[in-house]
Symmetry: C3
Subunit: 171 residues, 3 copies
């Protein structure tokens, strides 16, 4: 009887993990996602990040300038430079001033940059999974993306994680 009644209690005490959809490519939202992902992993919570649409741009290798297979994909990439070091703020951009100040303030107060947090998160076992459909639409190959990402999957794979109990966070 004791064993049985403890089953729901265990179920209750099991920490609920998170499954982030990183949809945005804005600097500040990228930052928020990286803080949540690395902190969640450090608390021992199962943590996955499904990177899609503008968010996938963040995971393009920094040295890549021209990506895409046709002229439309190349034009989209040229207009919004990919890579985690080229994220722009959604407002207060002012020729990079707001962005520059944000990084300067972060450094002053010991806050890690998104690129540093990504490294930490990957080391702590956070799984970053690229969206296959976004890769197709933007003409991205596995070689265009940074190392250490999971196999590209579709929305069904992300939702299966949610169905099995990870709490979705759309950023």
């Amino acid at each position: 009887m004791t064993a049985e009644s403890s089953v729901p209690a265990e179920a209750e005490s099991k920490p609920q993990g998170i499954a982030i959809i990183l949809f945005s490519g804005d600097l500040e939202k990228t930052w928020a996602a990286m803080i949540l992902a690395s902190t969640s992993a450090s608390l021992g919570m199962p943590t996955k990040v499904f990177v899609t649409f503008w968010g996938l741009q963040t995971f393009v290798k920094p040295e890549k300038r021209i990506i895409g297979k046709n002229w439309m994909q190349k034009a989209l990439a040229a207009l919004a430079r990919p890579g985690i070091k080229h994220r722009k703020m959604s407002q207060l951009h002012f020729l990079g001033m707001g962005r520059w100040m944000m990084f300067k303030l972060a450094k002053q107060y010991g806050v890690s940059s998104p690129a540093e947090l990504l490294e930490i998160a990957q080391m702590m076992g956070v799984e970053f999974v690229p969206c296959l459909m976004t890769m197709d639409m933007f003409g991205l190959t596995r070689d265009d993306l940074i190392d250490g990402l999971g196999e590209p999957v579709g929305a069904a794979s992300y939702l299966a994680d949610v169905a099995s109990g990870l709490a979705p966070i759309f950023i």
Copy 2:
């Protein structure tokens, strides 16, 4: 005993459904919501979409140009044309170029448009529910909205779904 101990196990294995709040009216977020909703339903997960604020504009009938009861509501509608076929991208709009390219790439890679996905989602039993308060504020009537939507409700109804176990996703 076997029956009893299987209760929590069943509870664990029961797929968790999702309750999307579609708040945004941007093309790419509308697209993301439609992909999540239709995929979730195809996996047999309980799926609801509460459409509110800019998101509700998406569910205005395509033939409606002038909506609203007073001049302010009409002005708001005129400034942001409603309907799922008139969603604009949040960035890279460039007189519709980015949008046009996005649709062309989607077609090329066999990705359904938001309007097609909405139809699929509705056929698969996803319930789209309009926000009553948004309808009031924008002066929208049931007749302004597309067919097949649920009864307009308030935030309390949405939150009751969350309280009963659907995972919220704010888009």
Copy 3:
């Protein structure tokens, strides 16, 4: 046996609470967050709001004009005026016209303003918790923020709430 089999049933019927991350400072998203928080509390659901980044600006005292400890923080504050009464719409701003119309329509249809909803939510026991890291980066002190907020905490504290069962909503 009856008592035992009722345990999972109770666990099922226990309303799931919500843990909002209010990240945005946009008028309409602030509004959505305040409606969700106050409605959730009115339904007896455990409700917390973690206010971070642009969202924290909303909780600066209305009389504060110059906040921050160094020139960069002061410049950021000057460019985006803080306080719940100075939220701007993300689009249709038009020199405040869209914003003015939105408030006028809200009043006409009996919808409370974000500032009123914040008061209601606080009275109903919603806990608003400022993000410590954001306070550091923007140079904000407890004295700059409105009364009645919880102790400033980091992302770990927010995620502990999620781990213990509150459903995350990122706004």
